[in-house]
Assembly symmetry: C2
């Protein structure tokens, strides 16, 4: 019997196991769920052992990491590290759930529960894939290390330390992460790009204290007006970022990549309705998907100055502040962009105010190689499971964990997600497609088979 | 004996009376001082009666008005209304006072107490002037109505109603107000101009809700960036307001007015140090006094959008708000400016956002005629008291009461202030020059004499 047959025969059993796991409210953000979070780790450890892995629950300063290993592959075989997380988002607001967040329910082919798709379902299909292979063939063509943490939903505060402290044990060729979303139902995807970020704060100081706008207005430079003029000069009229040097390292989309994006099932009007804006717009010459996946941006994230309460207060404010972040694409470097931004903003500062620029947070953009033995094996396996070639998609946001693995373990990441649009991760009525749970497990088992 | 001699002979007695009044903490903003505020009204009423006025304390929805009348002038004589207030600002922070706010103390020729210059001292010198004239001559060349309210420091919420309800009784030719400041010690002044105001709020709406700046940034127009671009286009590079039609009704300064301003004892560097800005700047071609007194402005009073707390939050905000006020000069009309502003801001709104413009508050600019019997009499009397011609100054702010009198009673206002720069009105260590209290009384008595 093949692994696929094993998975198909045990389909209902595996779904019920997942449901059992989803009943444990492993909300990492809340101290009252500390025991539940530990119980979810224990539950997973026990299932991993049943699957044939050697398991250890390793404490951290916060919630523990469940480490599962199988190292029986022949010499020279690659090592895969499966990263995921067993903690979940808080379920609130509770009254917006159709069925209770920790009482999983299947409706219309979807399994509704907090953590179903983010990330317990996507972790568990990896466990079941390995179990199927070991049960049916007794071995895997690669060494496997599961590294399933319990703090992803609170920003993985202890992961980098854990990776550094256990770098030798976690050494691997590829990190496989299933925590992303397919572009559309029935369309298998590999996520090949994430944007980086340079997050800045600009502080403009005018007079030493707030002044009466009648007694001084007109003679004293207003820091809020000055800040607005600075921000206005950060884009040109084509929606391009107007910081000198900003685009120097931007890797342009190839004609093939643009063609692939144009072929995706996507309507601008659908996105417009989703965000509720009167019109979509951005950098001239690109469509929305290109703008989000492959073009850098500059967005004001926050503005504050003077009086912001109800009614009229005639203050000439002493200071004004903007939080401004830039999303970056390969091969931009966030350290360099921070410097370019700071120099340009300082050059825009008008007389009469002083401008301070702070770099609050940064991360590098990421782009997968898009080939290699594991990547190719995964692509073939996805095609076998869904009956069509996978598409290579990107995300406009960042997944800091990908950076952490790349930097600490020097391993390539492979992002294969089995979520679907509208899955409500982080929102009420989170769900995972039962079919994707099943086909995901078959595809992952297939990936190992393809590596033989 | 002349009125001046009467005032000089009773100098110490009058100062001690004022000190007695200043001991009453008539803080209108605080309910625990309600009885004190009433006591201050009673005290004033009693002194007015002693001066020879017919006095009535008229209740309002808040603190009462002290109305004092003398109507013995010959037929055809003008009627002057003396406006002032007996309430004071809260004294906090108490620990910054050298002597206690309600234990008046004379140091270096200045009387320190809350309310000394704002406005009890300036009210009381009017009472003493009338008393001197009635005591020495038995009559005045004008009918006089004192209208001294108890709510100026809380925005005069009941004054407009009071004026309307008592319009016949308050009918007058000129309203004399002593609640302003001389430009410099020893330099008598008449305030001949106040700026008006159009206070607006601009609300920019982008997407329906806050979005993740990674998942959508670049494809959705950011309302905070859009607001900054709108604000940046409200001035040109010369510091002029760039709203079409904005300057059409602005009365330009005459060469004589500019020369008079240039002759005032004023240093730009002193103002720069006072406000603590790195440099003063504003509309090209004008000095700071001209900018504050006679040029219209546009200032952002408040900005708010997105995340303004500590650290980095990657939000693409749904909306952004600015409070923006324009100070207006004769002959601008605030209703018209509101319309010009709204139309221009709407015309600047980029695709992808909707812009709403609200008019929150408005007031007309004011400029005194600068001549006429009472004005000329006051000018001559000021010259006699100080030994030099008074200068005509303006204020950059608004005094809504001037508008209220003009609109309700159709009376010209005459603003003669006896405060001095640095007098700390509204701040700890408020003081009034004892010399100005004395000379002010003499000048006001002289004004009546000049009307004979």
């Amino acid at each position: 019997m093949s692994a696929t047959e094993y998975l198909q025969r045990n389909r209902e059993k595996h779904l019920n196991e997942l449901i059992e796991w989803l009943r444990i409210p492993s909300v990492s953000a809340k101290s009252e769920h500390k025991a539940d979070t530990a119980a979810a780790a224990d539950w997973l450890a026990e299932r991993m052992r049943e699957a044939g892995l050697t398991v250890e629950i390793i404490p951290t300063a916060g919630h523990p990491v469940v480490l599962g290993e199988w190292r029986g592959a022949p010499a020279g075989a690659p090592t895969l590290l499966i990263y995921g997380h067993y903690d979940v988002q808080p379920p609130e607001p509770l009254d917006e759930w159709t069925s209770a967040p920790f009482e999983p329910e299947v409706r219309d082919g979807n399994l509704y529960a907090r953590g179903s798709v983010d990330d317990k379902g996507q972790v568990y299909l990896h466990v079941k894939a390995v179990q199927a292979l070991l049960a049916e063939g007794g071995s895997l063509p690669a060494n496997v290390v599961f590294c399933i943490e319990g703090e992803e939903e609170i920003g993985s505060p202890n992961l980098a330390t854990f990776l550094r402290d256990n770098a030798e044990r976690l050494a691997c060729d590829t990190v496989v992460i299933s925590d992303t979303t397919m572009f559309a139902p029935g369309l298998p995807c590999i996520t090949t790009g994430l944007r980086g970020m340079a997050y800045m704060e600009v502080r403009v100081q005018g007079p030493a204290t707030d002044l009466h706008s009648g007694a001084y207005g007109g003679a004293v430079v207003n820091p809020a007006n000055a800040l607005a003029r600075i921000i206005a000069q950060l884009h040109d009229d084509q929606g391009r970022v107007a910081i000198p040097g900003f685009y120097d390292r931007v890797r342009e989309l190839t004609p093939e990549q643009r063609q692939a994006i144009a072929g995706l099932p996507f309507e601008e009007e659908t996105l417009r309705k989703e965000v509720g804006a009167p019109k979509l717009s951005g950098e001239a010459g690109f469509g929305s998907i290109e703008r989000i996946w492959a073009r850098p941006t500059l967005d004001v994230n926050g503005l504050l100055s003077g009086y912001t309460g109800e009614g009229a207060k005639t203050v000439l404010p002493a200071r004004a502040m903007a939080k401004i972040s830039m999303r970056l694409v390969p091969d931009q470097d966030f350290h360099e962009v921070e410097k370019l931004f700071t120099a340009h903003v300082q050059s825009l500062a008008p007389e009469g105010v002083t401008v301070e620029v702070l770099a609050l947070h940064g991360g590098q953009p990421w782009h997968a190689e898009g080939s290699g033995p594991v990547f190719d094996a995964a692509a073939r396996a996805l095609e076998a499971a869904w009956g069509r070639k996978p598409v290579f998609i990107r995300e406009g946001g960042s997944i800091p964990i990908v950076q952490a693995f790349q930097e600490t373990l020097n391993a390539q990441a492979l992002l294969i997600g089995f979520g679907l649009p509208g899955e409500n991760a982080h929102a009420p009525n989170e769900w995972m497609s039962v079919e994707n749970f099943q086909k995901g497990a078959e595809a992952i088992a297939g990936m190992y088979e393809e590596l033989r």
